[in-house]
Amino acid sequence: MNKLVEMKNIHKSFGEVVALRGIDFTVKDNEVVGILGDNGAGKSTLIKMLAGVVTPTKGDIYIKGEKINPRNYSVKKARKLGIETVYQEKALGDLQPLWRNIFIGRHRTNRLGFINVAEEKRETDKIMRELIGLTGGGASCESSVKTLSGGERQGVAIGRAMYFDADLVILDEPTMALSLQEVDKVLNFIRKIKEMGKACIYISHNISYVYPVSERFVLMDRGQVIVEYKKEQVTLEELMDKVVMATQVGKRQ
């Protein structure tokens, strides 16, 4: 399998605070990688770098074999390279209708910048039907996001990522504050991403959610990768023990 993303010796500090210290991290084509770790481990900083929101202080990033110049890397550039990010609770505008949320930042416009609303609404309905499965409950492309449940919101954000044909979908705590039933929906979305031949990075505190859908696990603690496992190397119970042990060893040092 080809390497889709490769990060080498990544460092990042925000002023005095060091967030990442020498991270090596790869994602292969059509691979689902779970990143585990405590608060402040640097998980979100790491993926924000791939999404084009944060620039590294030091280190190299390769996407599809191409070396990234951090200075002109942006959200738009990341999208062009096929990287879509679903942030925890920050992905959607509450008051805006679904079609505006789907096409935010990349509207179908004519040369003067006017939006082709009819086409976007049509596409949104299609996305809801085919990718999200959001058909009941009277939701339409004109419904505003505030009328949706937490799971449906994540569904919209993930559906948006799939629609724009991402090669890599990054999910940052997508199951935060969701009911169990809705968590199931999100996990099914991740399985769908895999079936569609795309890669996924799944960040979560909850190991029992990450375990069934991921193929590889990366444990992070205080800005470093502590250990990596392939799924066949560990059971869920072993992985849980190892996460607890790894973070406790880290704390003793």
């Binding site: 942006s74 008051l95 505006r100």
Partner: protein
């Protein structure tokens, strides 16, 4: 067969008719139209001589657009989650720029271009201070309001500029005449209203404005250029204030250093009564349109019904508080 019929009927009953959907969607605006009509009926009963003649309505159509045009700009600003207090001063400075250029060159076109440029520059100044320095817009534009007014007084030395020659220009008809019997100012108001509706609800820029007002952090992470959008919004506000100023000069044919004073309250009242949210992410151009007419007719109504002019301020202030209270309560309920 029976089953099929029943099913069809059920579906038909479930589907709300289009006019109900339409009424639901625009219920706030419809309510506003009803309120405006009621206020006018009250005025007709209170002072039939003034309010049953066509004259007063023709006057409305030539005076309301100044406030209305600035209210359109303020609607965009509020939709982006910001506020602008500096536009009355911008109106005065742009008006002064127009007056000076016109007096010097006798060219309305040149004067208009310079006035719009001055308005845009003040707006860009506001936008830069808000985005690049990070000062809250209410403070930036409060400072700008005093600063620009001061600049106006210093430049003009406190003196008015007569512009009687404006009535001799070909432009007079364009900015102060009538169009099929309607004062042309209201035609400008209508055209700008339609244009800004398309900008806010059908253009990429308006989409960015709404998203930033809704959730600035999300907008940034989804690839919207937050700083640039805010600066452009302030620049549009400045240009609309400048344009309203030039229109006003064609009506008055004298530039006064106090130009625009008193428009802050009426413009705010028009936008808030119109139903635009002060929390950002939403806005209604149509509401602002009706709001401007409601506010504009109130002043005339209060004066015509024999109440003292002092009452206008009290009533406008009350209207602002009542309308934002209603909006906040409705918002809380929908959450």
């Amino acid at each position: 067969m029976m089953m099929k019929m029943k099913k069809k009927e059920l579906v038909k009953n479930l589907k709300t008719p289009w006019y109900i959907t339409l009424i639901n969607k625009y219920r706030m605006q419809l309510g506003l139209v009803v309120i405006t009509a009621m206020v006018l009926v009250l005025f007709m009963i209170g002072s039939p001589r003034a309010f049953l003649s066509g004259n007063i309505y023709r006057t409305f159509l030539s005076t309301i657009p100044f406030v209305g045009i600035m209210a359109l700009g303020l609607t965009l600003i509020l939709a982006s989650g910001q506020i602008d207090l500096s536009f009355p001063s911008t109106m005065a400075l742009s008006g002064y720029a127009f007056a000076v250029i016109f007096t010097m060159t006798e060219s309305v076109f040149l004067g208009l271009v310079v006035a719009l440029l001055a308005g845009a520059l003040i707006g860009i100044g506001n936008g830069l201070l808000v985005t690049k320095i990070g000062i809250p817009p209410i403070i930036v534009t409060l400072g700008m309001m005093f600063f620009i007014r001061g600049v106006v007084h210093v430049l003009a030395g406190g003196l008015a500029v007569p512009l009687r020659a404006l009535s001799g220009t070909n432009w007079f008809k364009v900015f102060s005449g009538t169009f099929v019997g309607i004062p042309v100012q209201s035609v400008w108001f209508l055209l700008l209203g339609v244009f800004l509706w398309f900008i806010l609800f059908r253009h990429r820029l308006g989409d960015s404005i709404l998203f930033i007002g809704d959730n600035e952090e999300t907008a940034g992470m989804m690839g919207i250029n937050v700083h640039r959008t805010k600066i452009v919004a302030f620049a549009i506000m400045g240009m609309l204030a400048a344009f309203a100023g030039v229109l006003d000069l064609f009506r008055l044919r004298t530039w006064w250093p106090t130009m625009g004073e008193g428009y802050l309250m009426t413009t705010m009242a028009a936008v808030f009564v119109g139903g635009t949210s002060m929390f950002g992410g939403e806005g209604t151009i149509f509401g602002t349109f009706i709001g401007a007419f409601l506010i504009g007719s109130l002043e005339a109504g209060i004066v015509a019904s024999g109440m003292s002019g002092f009452w206008t301020q009290l009533i406008y202030g009350l209207l602002i508080i009542v309308s934002v209270t209603i909006h906040t309560l409705l918002r809380r309920k929908s959450k």
